[in-house]
Symmetry: C2
Subunit: 252 residues, 2 copies
């Protein structure tokens, strides 16, 4: 059963301020919590139904996490998700790796003020699908540990490193010949694009304003997804997937 | 000013039952309402702020629509969107065109029980970007006129024809040699795929269950987006965009 104190602590973690102060966040849902327990992430506490604890007994024992059994109704009352989640975990935020120079042949996503948590979560999932291990976010990009981001990432937050820093500083620290592809509506068609080297940075702008003018000078190549109809634009995560797919297709 | 009756009518259109009975739906937001007024769709009523009516006076006059001026607060109180929408329109559902045989060289999306309104709206926007003019939905697919679908489509509902019918009947009526590409996790890589003809059907399954086994026999080619990382899947709209992009890239 959930104590009043536990419920209060869990509800507090719906707020950014509490996540920041406690350096903890919530992971909700049966499948992703099971994936979390199998990972080497530091789980502070697990809240789960008897059904969940029976099904994943081995995993729970291995992880050594402290567990509180509770009903599905209790979990729902402290969860941000609407469905009957079978499990919920409090996770310690990992230390951010000091990793300012990406390997020469790897792709990194750079996000300039992505605003919507669903979009950031989708971008993690897409990066994970395309084998991109790192996302660099401008400080104004929505917070990684928002439960909506974690939910939309479908477990990919476990595999993609995300760090926040002024993008100017990030670009300053890159090797001089790094390719920086910027997603625009009026660049070179990604269907015709032939990269001169493997890997680089794919820079994506905010939903409302695109890439900020302050960062435009960092872009070595403006690229565009060719349109065949009348829609004005694509969602930023959808666009990122199409661009990543083209880059992987070209390279392989 | 909004009358009580008007407010009641508008709020009722948030519900599927009322939309079905009245054969009307809501379009919300400045930009998309302006786009709507410029189209040849049948608008039953327009509710807008004085700012909107001043800015789009020409468009409103041309459309001949009856207009009720109201405050942003009044609009928000009857809108499903949270932001300060400057305009809201009640639109008459168009008659569904009898169009069972797509032109031979065109692409059509077929949706097998897509559940999430945001996904359906995204699929409309993506179809519109890639010049796909028609989407056929199984009867269980989420309703087109849900305000969340309309919002996510970003105006593309004006340009993409959507109809609902049992997909078995749809496939029965197709010419015998029509290509039916089915999106699976274990098909041929879309990067290696070389179609034998232009156009066909791209069949996408539900978020939870993929393409139903009853429809599998209709698929002439199982296709897959190659993965380069560890994510288990992509969101269905994201996958549709990547597949459409590859098909357009191959054809052009």
């Amino acid at each position: 059963m959930l104590s009043k104190n536990q419920a209060k602590t869990l509800r507090a973690l719906h707020r950014k301020k509490a996540r920041r102060e406690q350096q903890q966040f919530l992971v909700e849902g049966e499948k992703v919590v099971a994936e979390l327990l199998a990972s080497n992430w530091s789980v502070q506490a697990l809240y789960a139904t008897p059904t969940f604890t029976a099904q994943y007994a081995g995993l729970i024992q291995q992880s050594g996490v402290s567990i509180t059994e509770c009903s599905a109704a209790e979990l729902t009352s402290v969860s941000t998700l609407v469905s009957n989640d079978a499990a919920l975990a409090v996770v310690n935020c990992p230390a951010v790796a000091d990793n300012n120079s990406p390997s020469a042949d790897k792709w990194v996503l750079a996000l300039d003020d992505i605003n919507d948590p669903g979009n950031l979560g989708s971008l993690l999932r897409i990066a994970d699908w395309y084998g991109i291990r790192r996302i660099v976010c401008s400080p104004q990009t929505t917070e990684l540990y928002n439960p909506k981001v974690i939910a939309a990432s479908k477990g990919s937050f476990l595999r993609v490193q995300v760090d926040y820093q002024p993008l100017d500083a990030f670009f300053d620290a890159l090797p001089a010949n790094t390719a920086v592809l910027g997603a625009y509506l009026d660049g070179e068609s990604i269907h015709a694009f032939r990269p001169q080297q493997r890997g680089g940075i794919l820079l994506l702008g905010s939903e409302a304003h695109g890439i900020s003018s302050a960062l435009a000078a960092r872009v070595t190549q403006r690229i565009t997804i060719p349109a065949f109809g009348a829609a004005e634009s694509l969602n930023v995560a959808v666009a990122a997937a199409v661009l990543c797919d083209n880059l992987r297709r070209i390279e392989s």
